[in-house]
Symmetry: C2
Subunit: 401 residues, 2 copies
């Protein structure tokens, strides 16, 4: 797992040249070219352990969502075994992780015609990829492809537990119509799947999150009951989101739990009370490149490095793009990235019109509002231990579909 | 320029295998795997021609900003000659475009110590890369590097014309202090440079934008006059932003104009009256993957494909992530992407709680709020002619630093 760098400034040399890992020059956060994505491996390991501890007393399978990290090294740290189980949000993820040995994945975005060829190809490679859908149109499409290719394409039916995005309401008779269309088409039904995405937008706090978890569980269990009452098989009940997985108290009737962002956590999760700022494992290293007459500082991390995600800051009346830490990862209270252009971030004070105590050339680390969105702006993680400035490894990450 | 695709669904096969362009299978927007970034080449060409027409009567050099497209093919379409001049926002751009033959570039983000090695390496390759700064600290840093390496590193001084981000105010005596620090360090001063970034945030309309352009011009010309009055050389006066370049009426004293987003345009520019929606050259192709009980539709383009940029929609009271067009690029009035998750977009009606007239499996094209941010979420452009669904070429684009 320990990679080393050929050049102290530009780590692209390592990634672009396979043989370069031989030269043993380590880089420190003091010298790394900025902006750069930093991953605190100790925090990540603790976050992974916390989710496992939380679910251990319950009779459920943990199926981590790999869309946050999109990294083979992080996937290996997250997964119970080298084959999975895992959740993915794109076929590119499914293909990349299949290449790394994963064999049990749910592609948890509603399927469309243009993606079936690649799903078939993955199943032909021996990957147990399951699909998601919530309409008769999609069920017929999958059935037709399965018939034409001779490849079974098992599916989950998406249930809507909180009006967040897709899925059928738990008491909607259309669930049965879809389940029957699958059955008639010879498509194996794996079960029902739901995601309490609205738990990200609520009040937060343990009781509120436990209530969201219970609502999520009831929706999924109720939908499964409807299908089973009609005499159809519905083996699985899949629920999950980081807040509801960590604060759920009752998992009765649930077979598996999906969650993703807990691997890194972020300011949205901290704002909900799901984690502390000190648990956030990813940050963007930046250099102060200017000072303004109004006391603010300018850093070389704009939306290209941080993303445009405002997280919960907009509703909290202080829109900003992340909290500011010193080079060792300690939060500098009251500072935030209050504005972004493509390659510029403006660091201001949230509490008053105070002078930002950062000098030209100084380095900071920005905690992300949304770890998935910020990580997606980068192609590699610079891995450090908590409190250390030595980069121990560079882990590639991918994007795209 | 005409590339063709080996596989009708997954164009990554083309880009990943150099020899694949031999097989002459064209893909159509009807079949392309979604989400995918589409570039209307006719619109792009018209946008490029418009900027040239606007500046032709004035005695100024056009120095296009390549940060919007980050594509060698688009750069060739934009530039007056194969060597430049051009503006870049990262050293990665400078290196990539140098590899494609560009020799005249300004890296228009304030310089920091970690980036000087690569700037020196570019200049040693014969690339006339100029740097930007606005402090004595940076001037001394550049001078020291230049002395140590024996490589001259010409610089521009950044001027703040509108409180947008960095730079010194036009009448700030610190301009002279920085100019003298450069002179004492033997660093060639190329001139003063400003960017009317606040023109994006104003009322819009021709008179408002012309006023922003005049404010930008006066700031830059005034700063240059201050330097020249002190007996120092200040050959260049560089101004620019897409709105001020297109609506400026007076370019007296200006030597060059920088602008970037005009190559594609976007809804921010349309909202300012800089262009029409029909001029926007990039869009995200998406497939409808679900319908909700409340009449909204779900597409397979979320923030990962569209970015989280709200553009001007937040201040206009209807926050959304883009306008919706049919597959041929005609705007479907009243529809917008009203919500996004990582791989899901929710299409709703802006005008009322109307039913969104999109069926499962149907395809749409989403116009971006901010072309730079949306394009940055993709690694390739699928190039079409206006009104055609045939993909004529696939142009790679890059990100990173």
């Amino acid at each position: 797992m320990l990679n080393v760098m050929r050049d102290a400034r530009d780590t692209s040399l390592v990634l672009d040249r396979p043989g370069a890992a031989d030269a043993a020059i380590l880089v420190r956060l003091d010298d790394l070219a900025t902006p750069a994505l930093v991953l605190d491996r100790d925090r990540m390991d603790a976050n992974i352990a916390r989710m496992r501890r939380q679910l251990a007393p319950h009779d459920v399978l943990l199926r981590p969502h790999l869309k946050t990290a999109k990294s083979i090294e992080v996937a290996h740290a997250l997964l119970a075994s080298s084959g999975g189980p895992a959740t993915v949000s794109t076929l590119k993820e499914a293909e990349q992780f299949a290449g790394a040995g994963l064999t049990d994945m749910i592609y948890a975005v509603g399927i469309s015609a243009d993606k079936l060829d690649r799903a078939v190809a993955l199943r032909r490679r021996g990957v147990d990829l399951a699909l998601l859908l919530d309409s008769v149109e999609q069920a017929r499409l999958v059935a037709a492809t399965s018939r034409e290719t001779g490849v079974p394409l098992p599916c989950w039916i998406e249930i809507d537990c909180d009006d967040h995005r897709g899925g059928l309401k738990s008491d909607d008779p259309a669930i049965l119509t879809v389940a029957r269309a699958l059955q008639q088409g010879g498509v194996p039904l794996r079960g029902v799947l739901t995601h309490a995405g609205e738990s990200y937008n609520g009040m937060g706090g343990a009781d509120d999150l436990a209530a969201a978890a219970e609502q999520e569980r009831r929706a999924a269990v109720g939908a499964a009951a409807q299908i089973r009452a009609a005499g159809l098989l519905c083996p699985g009940v899949s629920v999950g989101s980081t807040p509801t997985a960590l604060f759920g108290r009752n998992f009765e009737g649930v077979s598996e739990v999906r969650a993703g962002v807990y691997v890194f956590f972020d300011l949205v999760m901290a704002g909900l009370g799901v984690c502390r700022a000190e648990d956030i494992a990813v940050s963007v290293l930046a250099t102060v490149i200017g000072r303004r007459g109004d006391g603010k500082a300018i850093i070389d991390a704009g939306w290209m490095a941080l993303s445009r995600d405002l997280g919960r800051s907009l509703r909290e009346g202080q829109p900003n793009y992340g909290a500011v830490c010193d080079l060792d990862g300690h939060v500098l209270p009251g500072l935030a990235v209050t504005g972004v252009n493509q390659e510029h971030g403006i660091v201001g004070s949230l509490s008053a019109d105070g002078i930002v105590p950062l000098q030209i050339g100084e380095r900071v680390r920005i905690l992300p509002n949304h770890a998935c969105a910020t990580s997606a702006q980068h192609d590699r993680y610079h891995v450090v231990a908590t409190g250390s400035r030595a980069v121990e490894a560079v882990w590639p990450r991918f994007n795209g579909w």
